[in-house]
Each structure stands twice: as structure tokens, then as C-alpha cells.
């Protein structure tokens, strides 16, 4: 029986705590008596017969007819799937998307359906490479569909491939992938890594365009999403749900398949990363020492390549199919079961170690803007109820924060960093002054469509993710970050954790309470005030 999550009160006997620092880690001693550490629950047991469970879900959907009953010869079937941003790290082969797509295709073949398109629902993310597609859907599916042009990626800038479905009662435009909208059935294959994923967000976001996205990806919505992990209190989700209603009303028939994973995040040599420090075996300690020593001597580019080659052993804990909202309720419950940790009371300082990866830099660099989104967009929002850190409190993160960007994946980020952030770090100001120019830039569109670049507007969305946290916290401190870069982000650089605490004392006093979010593995704090 896996142990639930746990909040440790740091006392004098507590060993130093592990902090991620990009492609490295460090152990930091937190002040005794006023610090606590939140550990994730241990991985839930996985479903043993994955394929059996998938078939069962397809045959016994929730609030919908079984999949075979929805399939008929001559129909247009479209299968959309989550892109490379999920799961993190990438899953060992076979990916569950491959398993589900194969099961769906088997049923489609049986029903005599021969017009099938498979679309990667990447919204404004970068296109996936051939290798990444093969990893997600498997060689068999790839070789059968890609050469004929039936396996491809959603293109939010191709006017020919989009359909405008109307507006929500709130006046939000709904525009989605034409093939998906015009199909007799849209099967969506999802991986629900965090509670934010899935539901109507799969289709209304994953298959839409800038015209739609701008209605919920903006500073206003982001400020009023408290948090993204709690869909009932998230404007972002409410907007997506309204759009889902428009989809339904315009006759788009969606068969949603959602899966949840356990938090078995790192392969065995890196077990210590998920363990509680006082439970480290001598072997764990040796591995930690050996790894950090080696990493200190490794050029960080090489270290990055090593980390990005990690494939996670995470496994499926549930699969459910059927009507979007009903399915998503169960999925969310399953995610919470794995990730929720009860925490009493807020804290003055929230500390976090930022790892090498985020949904937006698979096989790439966690550039400064993504460091921001990991800290203020994701980790800060890993709560239900109230934020972990009190209003006016401080966030201290550890990350080298080098001014490094992948020129292929993040060309607009480079310009955003040099041009927009040099001008303002205020999400509201930049959305007025700069967003349009980047969103409509022909060059970024070209790179998004033909190369492997995130859309021109994407860095803005990343910055908007942090809107609530920026407003909520009075200081954000980056330990070990490149000072110039950190200042450009509007944060404060510190060389050590002690310095950072010293700097934070300006806003939280001499004896603040400290809470460390010990993640990854992922967890959501259920904060009661």
C-alpha cells in the first residue's frame, strides 16, 4: 500500500533537503522550527492489464454508447491526441497513446471505417518531429498513416484547415480544426498528468487557433484562475467548458478517452529523487554524491542531453472513456487521489527547486521564460483552496537561469526576452502593447507551420501563466541564477539559500515560515487556511 503525501516539520535533526537546479541538484538546510517540506504521495499501483482496461473502457463508456456502436462504414473518423508536452518525462515505449490509438483503430477496422485521420492536438505548441511522433503513436500507426498524409499535426495558422463554430454567450470565438469538426466522430486520446489537463481543454484548446485561445490565455483569465489545478475555481476552465458547449451545439461528436498516470517519475538509479531525505539509504547517498559531483564536471549542454534522454517508468492508473465532462470528473478524482496532499495553513516563503524540464521544452532548453512559467505558472498553482504562500509572501527558487534559448523551438522567446521583457514585465501592459505584433508575425507563423517552433504568441502565454503569482507575491528570488537574466525577468538574484532568505526578510520579516514543495514527483497541495 503506497504511503500518502506527507508534510514534514523541519527540526534540528532533519537532514538537508533536495532542491532541483536545472540539470543538477543541491541539498539545502532549511531553518528548524519554522520550515516544512511537502512530499508527494508514493506512486499508486498501476493497472496490470493495460490493453484489457483500454478495451473495457471503450466498450463501457460513461454516458455514451460503446465505441463500436458509434462507428459505421463510410464515416469520417478523426483521432486527436495530446502532443509532446505530455507526459513528463516522456514515457517508456509503448506510450499509452499508441496503445489506445491501436485499440480504436482495431475497432474502426472491424466496423469498416476507412476514412481515418490522426491529428496531434498541439494548439500553438511546436510541431513534433518524426521521432517524437513515432514514440507517441508507435511505428506501426506512423508507417500506416503518415506517408499517406493521414497522420499529421494540427495547424492553427492554416485558414483552410480551421472551422469557425460561433461564439459562446461570453462572446468568445470558437474556431477549431476543420477535419475534427466535420468528422462524424472525434476520438480524443488524452494523458492527464495534472488536474489542469483534459476535459474540454483537450479539444477546445488543443485543436483551436489563436482566435479562440486569446479569450482564455490572457492576463485577466489567468489572474482569476485559482488555481489551474482546481477547475471549479479556474476561469481558464470555465471558458474552455463554455467553448465545449459550442462544440456540442454545433454537432461535433466527441468520444473522450482520458488516462491517468502514477507518479513513478524517475528510473531506478535516480530513486533518491523521489525519496524522503531521512530515508535515503547509504546507496542513495552515494548516488546523490556521485551524480552531483559528475554533473558539476559535465558541460551543462551534455548534462541536458543526458537528462532529456531519461524515459520515465510511469504507468497507467486509470482509463475512462465516453462523454467529456463525465469522463473528466472521474479523471480529476483519480489525479487528485495520486497527487493531493493536505496542508494546513499558508506560509511566508514558498521554496521550490526548478528541474530541467517543463511541458514546453521536451528535447530542448528550459529557457528563462520557461523557468518563470515553471515556478509561477505551475509550482505556485499546485494548490487547491488557498495558495501555499500567503499574499505578500515570497517565492525562492533554485535554478541556474542561463540566458539560453533553443533557436529552433523558441525563436519568438528570444525576441520576447530581448525586446518585450526589456520593455516591461507586466503581463497586462505587454498584452496591450506587444502581443498582437508577435501573434501576427509572418515569420513566426512560418516557423510554427514549417519548422519546429512554438507560435509567436506562445512566450506571452507563458508569461501570463504567472500573472496571479506575480501579483500575489511581493518578491521572487532565484538562487544560483544568472544575475542579469534574473533581473530581466523582474526577479531578484541570490547566490545562496541563506542570501535568499536574507533578501526575503525585507518583505516577510526575520523569522518567516517556510514551505518547500518537494517536487517532482508532482503533487497538489490541498491548503486549508
Amino acid at each position: 500500500m503506497p504511503r500518502p503525501g506527507f508534510v514534514l516539520d523541519v527540526d534540528r535533526s532533519t537532514p538537508p533537503i533536495l532542491f532541483w537546479r536545472g540539470e543538477n541538484f543541491s541539498l539545502e538546510k532549511l531553518p528548524a522550527g519554522r520550515s516544512r517540506v511537502i512530499y508527494a504521495p508514493e506512486p499508486l499501483p498501476a493497472i496490470e492489464d493495460v490493453d484489457g482496461a483500454i478495451v473495457h473502457a471503450l466498450l463501457h463508456p460513461i454516458d455514451q454508447d460503446p465505441l463500436p456502436a458509434l462507428l459505421f462504414p463510410g464515416m469520417k473518423l478523426t483521432i486527436a491526441f495530446d502532443d509532446v508536452s505530455l507526459p513528463l518525462p516522456k514515457m517508456r515505449r509503448p506510450d499509452i497513446r499508441q496503445r489506445i490509438i491501436e485499440a480504436v483503430l482495431d475497432m474502426a477496422a472491424e466496423a469498416g471505417v476507412d476514412d481515418v485521420h490522426i491529428i496531434s492536438a498541439l494548439a500553438l505548441h511546436r510541431r513534433m518531429t518524426e521521432a517524437e511522433l513515432r514514440h507517441a503513436v508507435g511505428d506501426r500507426v506512423y508507417d500506416a498513416f503518415a506517408p499517406r498524409g493521414h497522420l499529421y499535426q494540427h495547424d492553427a495558422e492554416d485558414p483552410e484547415a480551421l472551422t469557425y463554430l460561433g461564439t459562446t454567450p461570453h462572446g468568445e470565438d470558437v474556431e477549431i480544426n476543420k477535419r475534427a469538426a466535420e468528422s462524424d466522430l472525434l476520438v480524443y486520446v488524452n494523458i492527464n498528468l495534472v488536474a489542469m489537463d483534459g476535459g474540454w481543454k483537450s479539444t477546445a484548446t488543443g485543436l483551436s487557433s489563436y482566435k479562440s485561445l486569446r479569450h482564455h490565455h490572457n492576463p485577466e483569465t489567468m489572474t482569476h484562475s485559482r488555481s489551474f489545478m482546481d477547475q471549479h475555481r479556474s476561469e481558464l476552465h470555465k471558458s474552455n467548458w463554455r467553448m465545449g458547449k459550442v462544440l456540442l451545439d454545433s454537432g461535433v461528436k466527441v468520444f473522450q478517452i482520458e488516462t491517468t498516470l502514477n507518479t513513478d517519475t524517475f528510473p531506478s538509479p535516480f530513486n533518491f529523487l523521489s525519496k524522503r531525505e531521512w530515508e535515503w539509504s547509504p546507496r542513495d547517498r552515494m548516488t546523490y554524491l556521485g551524480t552531483t559531483k559528475a554533473l558539476n564536471r559535465t558541460p551543462h549542454r551534455l548534462a541536458r542531453n543526458i537528462f532529456h534522454s531519461i524515459e520515465a517508468p510511469h504507468q497507467m492508473t486509470s482509463v475512462q472513456a465516453g462523454e467529456v465532462e463525465a469522463v473528466h470528473r472521474i479523471t480529476t478524482a483519480n489525479v487528485y487521489e495520486q497527487q493531493l496532499v493536505e496542508v494546513k495553513g499558508q506560509t511566508d516563503i514558498l521554496t521550490m527547486g526548478i528541474p530541467y524540464i517543463s511541458p514546453y521544452n521536451v528535447h530542448s532548453i528550459l529557457n528563462p521564460i520557461l523557468v518563470q512559467v515553471m515556478a509561477l505558472g505551475y509550482y505556485f498553482n499546485m494548490y487547491r483552496g488557498a495558495p501555499l504562500v500567503r499574499e505578500g509572501g515570497a517565492i525562492i527558487m533554485t535554478h541556474p537561469c542561463r540566458p539560453e534559448f533553443n533557436p529552433v523551438h523558441h525563436p519568438s522567446y528570444i525576441d520576447f526576452f530581448e525586446q518585450v521583457l526589456a520593455d516591461t514585465t507586466d503581463p497586462h501592459v505587454m498584452s496591450q502593447k506587444w502581443e498582437k505584433q508577435y501573434a501576427e508575425d509572418e515569420w513566426y507563423k512560418h516557423l510554427y507551420r514549417t519548422s519546429y517552433a512554438y507560435h509567436g504568441v506562445h512566450p506571452f502565454y507563458m508569461w501570463y501563466w504567472g500573472t496571479h503569482a506575480m501579483k500575489h507575491c511581493s518578491r521572487v528570488i532565484v538562487v544560483g541564477g544568472d544575475p542579469k537574466t534574473v533581473r530581466r525577468l523582474g526577479f531578484v538574484p541570490a547566490s545562496t539559500m541563506d542570501d535568499a532568505l536574507e533578501i526575503a526578510s525585507d518583505v516577510v520579516g526575520r523569522a518567516p515560515t517556510i514551505t518547500h514543495l518537494h517536487t517532482p514527483p508532482l503533487l497538489v497541495a490541498d491548503v486549508s487556511v
Binding site: R301, N367, P403, N406, P407, P411, E418, D441, W443, S451
Partner: protein, 791 residues
């Protein structure tokens, strides 16, 4: 008395665009209200004489005072009182039209102030202008019929005190040829010798050996800049060589017969020649010493030109000239320009009968300025008002030790040798961008030292000169003036209080004139910002970009390698790499010799490559090679230009399909085009001359004329001297990551220099080879994976 004497007279002035000339014209117009002026002015290289008069004389700030006094009548009054004749004192008959000839000759007074005053002018031009100029005027006056009163115009010739030559002690107001130190030179044979020397030197400069040297020099400086650019540079070098030889010849000839330089030498012979050939023409000679900024008229500190003491003073204030030779107790004979002008006008007003034959205008005998006083004043002033360097730091002026000339020269020569050697060493390294600017800075430093050496050689003699110029005639003229004249035309050298003059009038004017930095703050940034603003001004029309090393850190060999190996398996890739590495040195040297030849040779490798495969692979090439090696700032700049409404043009020697991915950035892409065979493969041959070197300038010019744009409103970005023709053709050149030679040129000409780099974090691949593609993809085009990589 003066104003009345000259009232109603017509006065011709030569050299009116010069320092003394401008002051003279202004003073005559202002203080002699009823005279008319005839200005003899040479056509400029581009501007006709009348336009030069308007721009170079009446727009000068000397006329600010008159503009205020006359208000709206200024232009009308000028038009009424001043007429311009086109002519040149360097030509026999002054090159005047018959009408202008009589206009000129019928004047009452001719003030001849045209001269080749540069101390480093070539011997022959100094002879033509300084020696023969006055004589030609006299000859013309003699040829024309005399005026109604039977007399000929009064010729007032401006000369210099230094005609006295290198001597100590008193120099009286008499002709040198009539004085005790005359060595009996014959001016005619000097003229013949100088002209002969010009043609001999021209001939020598054209010997094959010399021409080869100039060509090599041009190539060293410009690299593969293309035939027209190299030809132009070679010819410039030849002309510069001829000039140097003639300057040198002038200096040594002057020194050999006892004058400090060719200027004083030719002026001395000019006086002699004039007196021998003047015939009926009444002549008065006015000899000023070193003329400096105005004491009071038209306003204190007024000065034009920048050639005598000013560069020395500024070099000293910049800390460049740490020593300057001179005798501390010696006299440096300086005279403000308004005193000179007053003296000239007074001589003209006295008329041919009353005026002294020779009038010296100098301060040495009545109100001497000691060299030490000057130096002390200059040092004190610059200590209180330092010049700031480009980093915003004040420059501390050195103490002056009054060393001998030999020692200073030796020091400077040694410094120059050191800098030259380091510069050579740096230039031989393949540097780019920021490093290349070290070398450019060194070159600039060498230029500074060379200039300092020249000053020491040229002006050192003047500071060491210990002649005292007598001003008895000048004082006699002064005595004859009434009080009104003395107020309006002060010609008394004793009126100058030297310390006040140096520190409150002259130096402030010199620093203002030299536009040096007198306040803290970084100029480098200011200058860059200013240039950048100009480049990104909506008024520009077109922005042309080179590709390799300007927008991406890659080249045609890399894109070929990437395309050729994309569908190869590992073992074939290794073989390919080994072969290419073997060929690399040969390819490099070929590229350096001639870019177009190299491209033609290299592109043969694409022979037989299937068009369809290349087109598909070229899309991946954008992501995997071009974007990884791109300079984000460069791509941003292209888009900034587009956003401003400029047309953007890419001009590259790369093949069109290899740059296809960049199409959305540009309105026009001019690339090498390869012909396609009917079977759908590339032929390996280009359909036209690849756009390299001077062709690029032509392409842009053609584009502009076709689209109705002007080249002066174009911006061009390039990285190497082979693009020099393109950069020179446009109004706003930008050197991007310049190689050493281009960095030096850009610095010299004040071009904007950008140092763009790849994105931090861009993958660093040793070889331009993409990741292995899947088996199926490899065999997609007929399984013969080696098609497209011939050889």
C-alpha cells in the same frame, strides 16, 4: 578714411573661399559700405563656382553678424554688391571667359589671397598656384587695355612672412631676392623642374613593378572585393603614391635652399617672379605670419579651416602628442585673422602710390608670444577643460618638456613600428566581430601616430624658427589711420593680450571647431544609437542583407554537406566527412581568390541531385541548419525593417532552394539559380552569374531603379570586404561581425558595426550533418541514397 577711399570702388578677390578670403569679403561688405566685389572662384569637383560662393562663403558663420544687421535685405544686398567670375589662378589666363576677363581686369583693386596653404602640398601644385598664380594675374592685367585713367588695377598680393626662410634675427619688409641672403635662385628653372618631376613621377608610378605593388596593396586592404573595387583602390593608391613623392620632393627642395617647406619656398619665388614680370601693374605685397582665430571681427574666435596650430593643439589635448619640439624662449609668431584683413584693406585703401611695397603683419617684433607662454596657457586651459575620451573619462594633458625634434621623432617612430607590427600580426589572424575591432583600433592608433609624426616634421620647423619679422611699414600704415579707421580696422599687433587671447578666444573656438567631446558620457553608445536610429528610420527604402555570417553562421559547404548526407547511413557519412575534410584547404583558398569561381566549381556537386528530394530536404534544412545557426538579432533586424515599411532584400551566393525557408522574411531573394534537367535532376550548372562581390551592388542598384527607390536611402548589411562594393553603394552601410579588414574600414568611415551571435544554447555540432533519418525515409528516393552527392 579707408571706407571713403574704397567707396564706389570695385574690388576683385581671389581665394575668397579660404580663411583670410572669407574674412576679407565679410569685412569689405560690412565696413566699406559702398564698394562692389568681384569674386574669382574655381569650380568645385561637383559644385559650380556660384554655388560654392553661396555655400562656402555666405553660409559661413562669419556672415551671421551681417545677416542680423541686414535682415531681409541680406540676399538682395549680396546679389547687388557681389558678382562671381569663374576662374582658376592655376591656369594661364586664369581660365576666364572674355567677358569675365574684362570684368576682372577693370576692377580698381585686385586682392590676391588664393594660395595652396597646406604645408604638405605637392611641389608642382604649390608651384602652379603659389609661384605662378600672382604672375598670371599681373600678366592678364597687362594684356587687357588699361582703364580710363590710363592705370591698371592695384594688385595687393597676400604672401607670408616665412618667405624670409630659415634664419635667425630680423627679417625686414623687403624682397628676399633683394636681401643679403639671396642665393640667386631662378624661379623659371624651378617651375620647369617641378613640372618635369610631376611627369617623371607619374611615369614611374606606372611601371609594372609599381602597379603590381599597388594592386597587392589594394588586395591586402580589401580582399576579394571584386575587380571594379580593386581597380579603384589600386588607382587611389597610385595617386596617393605620386602625391607623397611630390610632397616629399617639395619638402626636400625647400629645405635644400633654406625654406621650412614648399609653401614658404614657392611663395618666396612667387614674390620674386611677380616683381620681375609685373610690368605696368602696381603691386603691394602683404605678408602675414601664422594666422589664427579672430580677435574681435566678425566675432571673437571666428576661424575657418583646420590646418595650422589647431590639429597640434587638439592632438596634444587628446594625449596623442606627448611631446612637441620647440624652443621655450623662442617666439611663435601668431597673428589674428582680423588684424591681417584690416592690414590688407588698409593697404588697398592707401592705393598704389601710397601703400608700402611690402607690409608684414606679424606680432614677433612688437608684441611677441613666447612659446612657453603659449604652451603653459594651453596646458592650463585643457587641465581646467579636459577633452573626454569615448568612455567618458577626462584626458589628462601631459607636461611639455620642450625636447629637440630628433628625440620626439625617434619616440614616435618607435611607437609606430610597434603598432604596425602588432597590426600586421592581428590582420593575419582570421578574426571577426569584436576581436576584429582590436585590429581596427590599432590601425586607428597607427594613423594617429603617423599624423603626429607629420605635425612634428611640418610644424616643428615653425616653432623652432627664430626670425623676427619687422613691421615698420605696418606701423607706418597704422600711424596714418584716423581714429575712426583705428576703431573699424584695427591692424596693430600690440592690441592682442596673448594670455587672454589664447585662453578665452582661441582655445574655446578651436575645441568647438574640432567637435571634440568636452563633457563626460559615453560617445560610443551615443554614436551607435544615432547610427542605429538612422538605419531604422522610416524614411529608408530598402534593407539589403548578405546571408553567410551576416544572418547565419553557416556557408554553402555546410548546407551542401547537410543535404548530401541527410539520406546516408553512418558508414557513408564517415566516408563523406573524411573526403570533405581532405578537400577543405583547397576549397578555402579557392574561395579566397574568387568567390564566383568557387561557387561554380562547388555547385557542380549538385549534378544529378533529384529536385523533389532536395525540395523536401530543404524544408528540414531550415530547422536543422539555418535556424540553429541563425543570429536571432539579425533575423529580428530584418523584421524590424519590414515593420517600418522598408523592402527587405536578401542577396546571397547560396542556392535558391537552400534559402527557400527564409522567403517570408524578404520581399526579394536574389540567390544562385541552378538549371534543372528535363528528367527532374539538377544540372550542377548555374543559370547566371552568382550574386557575389560587385555584382551585388549592381543587383541592388537595378532593383532600386526598377522599383523607384534611391540607393542613398538603402541600408546594406554584410560581413566581408568582398561586399564592399555593395556597402559603398548604399547610403547606410552596416558591417556585421566584420572580418579584420572590413572592421578597419567600417571604423574609419564611421559605419554602424553590429556584432551578432548565435543564440546561447544553440546546439554546437562539430560537423554540419543532420541526425540519422529512418530507414524508410532514407530509401524514399529510389534507394540510391548517394544520388546528390557526386564523387
Amino acid at each position: 578714411m579707408i571706407a571713403q577711399a574704397l567707396a564706389g570702388r570695385r574690388i576683385a578677390v581671389t581665394g575668397s573661399t579660404g580663411f583670410v578670403g572669407t574674412a576679407l569679403v565679410e569685412r569689405l561688405l560690412r565696413s566699406v559700405p559702398d564698394c562692389e566685389l568681384v569674386l574669382l572662384v574655381r569650380d568645385g569637383r561637383r559644385t559650380p563656382a556660384a554655388e560654392r560662393v553661396r555655400r562656402e562663403i555666405f553660409k559661413n558663420n562669419a556672415f551671421d553678424r551681417l545677416r542680423t544687421e541686414w535682415g531681409d535685405d541680406f540676399d538682395a544686398t549680396i546679389a547687388r554688391r557681389v558678382s562671381v567670375v569663374r576662374g582658376d589662378v592655376g591656369t594661364d589666363g586664369l581660365g576666364l571667359s572674355p567677358v569675365d576677363r574684362s570684368t576682372f581686369a577693370s576692377c580698381d583693386v585686385i586682392i590676391h589671397s588664393a594660395a595652396s596653404v597646406a604645408f604638405d602640398s605637392p611641389l608642382d601644385s604649390a608651384v602652379e598656384i603659389n609661384l605662378l598664380g600672382p604672375m598670371r594675374i599681373a600678366a592678364l592685367l597687362n594684356e587687357e587695355p588699361a582703364r580710363a585713367d590710363g592705370r591698371r588695377a592695384h594688385l595687393v598680393a597676400v604672401s607670408t612672412c616665412y618667405v624670409a626662410g630659415n634664419r635667425r634675427g630680423n627679417a625686414p619688409e623687403e624682397l628676399v631676392s633683394e636681401g643679403p641672403f639671396d642665393i640667386g635662385l631662378d624661379w623659371k628653372s624651378e617651375v620647369t623642374a617641378a613640372r618635369r618631376l610631376r611627369s617623371d613621377t607619374e611615369a614611374t608610378s606606372r611601371t609594372p613593378d609599381n602597379l603590381k605593388r599597388f594592386r597587392e596593396g589594394a588586395r591586402r586592404e580589401l580582399g576579394a572585393a571584386g575587380a571594379p573595387a580593386l581597380a579603384e583602390k589600386t588607382e587611389n593608391l597610385r595617386e596617393a603614391w605620386v602625391k607623397d613623392r611630390l610632397v616629399e620632393a617639395g619638402r626636400s627642395r625647400a629645405a635644400s635652399v633654406g625654406w621650412p617647406d614648399a609653401y614658404a619656398f614657392t611663395k618666396a619665388l612667387g614674390e620674386q617672379a611677380l616683381h620681375e614680370t609685373k610690368g605696368d601693374v602696381p603691386v603691394s605685397i602683404v605678408r602675414p605670419s601664422i594666422i589664427e582665430s579672430a580677435l574681435a571681427e566678425p566675432f571673437p574666435g571666428w576661424i575657418r579651416g583646420f590646418r595650422m596650430a589647431e590639429p597640434v593643439i587638439i592632438s596634444y589635448a587628446r594625449g596623442l602628442l606627448k611631446e612637441f619640439p620647440g624652443v621655450p624662449e623662442g617666439t611663435i609668431d601668431v597673428i589674428p585673422v582680423d588684424i591681417v584683413v584690416a592690414a590688407i584693406i588698409a593697404v588697398a585703401a592707401l592705393g598704389p602710390d601710397e601703400a608700402p611695397r611690402i607690409t608684414q603683419v606679424a606680432s614677433g617684433s612688437t608684441n611677441p608670444l613666447k612659446y612657453r607662454t603659449l604652451v603653459d596657457n594651453v596646458r592650463d586651459w585643457f587641465t581646467a577643460h579636459p577633452i573626454y575620451d569615448s568612455h567618458g573619462q577626462p584626458i589628462v594633458v601631459p607636461d611639455w618638456n620642450f625636447p629637440g625634434r630628433g628625440r620626439v621623432q625617434k619616440q614616435l617612430t618607435r611607437a609606430k613600428d610597434l603598432v604596425t607590427r602588432s597590426e600586421r600580426a592581428l590582420q593575419s589572424l582570421p578574426l571577426r566581430g569584436a576581436q576584429a575591432t582590436w585590429s581596427a583600433r590599432l590601425e586607428e592608433r597607427r594613423g594617429d601616430i603617423e599624423r603626429a609624426l607629420e605635425y612634428v616634421e611640418l610644424y616643428g620647423l615653425y616653432t623652432e624658427c627664430e626670425a623676427i619679422y619687422q613691421v615698420d611699414n605696418l606701423m607706418a600704415v597704422h600711424e596714418r589711420l584716423d581714429d575712426d579707421d583705428r576703431a573699424a580696422f584695427c591692424l596693430d599687433p600690440r592690441a592682442v593680450d596673448w594670455p587672454t587671447y589664447v585662453s578665452t578666444i582661441h582655445l574655446p573656438s578651436v575645441v568647438q571647431h574640432a567637435r571634440v567631446k568636452m563633457a563626460p558620457g559615453k560617445t560610443v553608445v551615443d554614436r551607435r544609437d544615432r547610427l542605429k536610429r538612422q538605419v531604422l528610420d522610416p524614411a529608408r527604402h530598402v534593407a539589403a542583407f548578405d546571408l553567410e555570417n551576416t544572418l547565419i553562421a553557416s556557408n554553402v559547404v555546410e548546407s551542401y554537406s547537410w543535404l548530401a548526407t541527410r539520406r546516408l547511413d553512418t558508414s557513408d557519412r564517415i566516408r563523406y566527412v573524411a573526403r570533405t575534410l581532405r578537400e577543405a584547404p583547397g576549397l578555402l583558398s579557392m574561395d579566397r581568390k574568387d568567390r564566383a569561381d568557387f561557387l561554380r566549381y562547388f555547385y557542380r556537386r549538385y549534378e544529378d541531385a533529384p529536385v523533389e528530394q532536395i525540395d523536401i530536404d530543404a524544408i528540414e534544412l531550415l530547422s536543422q541548419l539555418i535556424m540553429t545557426k541563425s543570429f536571432p538579432e539579425g533575423l529580428r533586424r530584418v523584421r524590424e525593417h519590414r515593420a517600418l515599411g522598408h523592402r527587405t532584400v536578401l542577396i546571397t551566393g547560396a542556392l535558391s532552394f537552400a534559402v527557400e525557408g527564409l522567403r517570408p522574411l524578404f520581399d526579394e531573394i536574389v540567390a544562385a539559380e541552378m538549371t534543372i534537367r528535363p528528367d527532374g535532376t539538377y544540372s550542377g550548372e548555374l543559370s547566371r552569374v552568382p550574386p557575389t562581390g560587385e555584382t551585388r551592388a549592381q543587383i541592388l542598384a537595378d532593383y532600386c531603379s526598377a522599383e523607384g527607390f534611391r540607393l542613398e536611402e538603402c541600408v546594406a548589411y554584410a560581413d566581408s570586404t568582398s561586399d564592399l562594393p555593395l556597402l559603398e553603394a548604399v547610403g547606410f552601410p552596416v558591417a556585421v561581425n566584420p572580418e579584420t579588414r572590413l572592421a578597419a574600414i567600417a571604423r574609419k568611415r564611421g559605419w554602424l558595426v553590429e556584432n551578432w551571435s548565435k543564440a546561447e544554447g544553440a546546439p554546437k555540432r562539430l560537423l554540419p550533418i543532420g541526425p540519422l533519418v529512418s530507414e524508410g525515409e532514407r530509401r524514399r528516393f529510389g534507394g540510391d541514397s548517394r544520388r546528390g552527392s557526386r564523387g
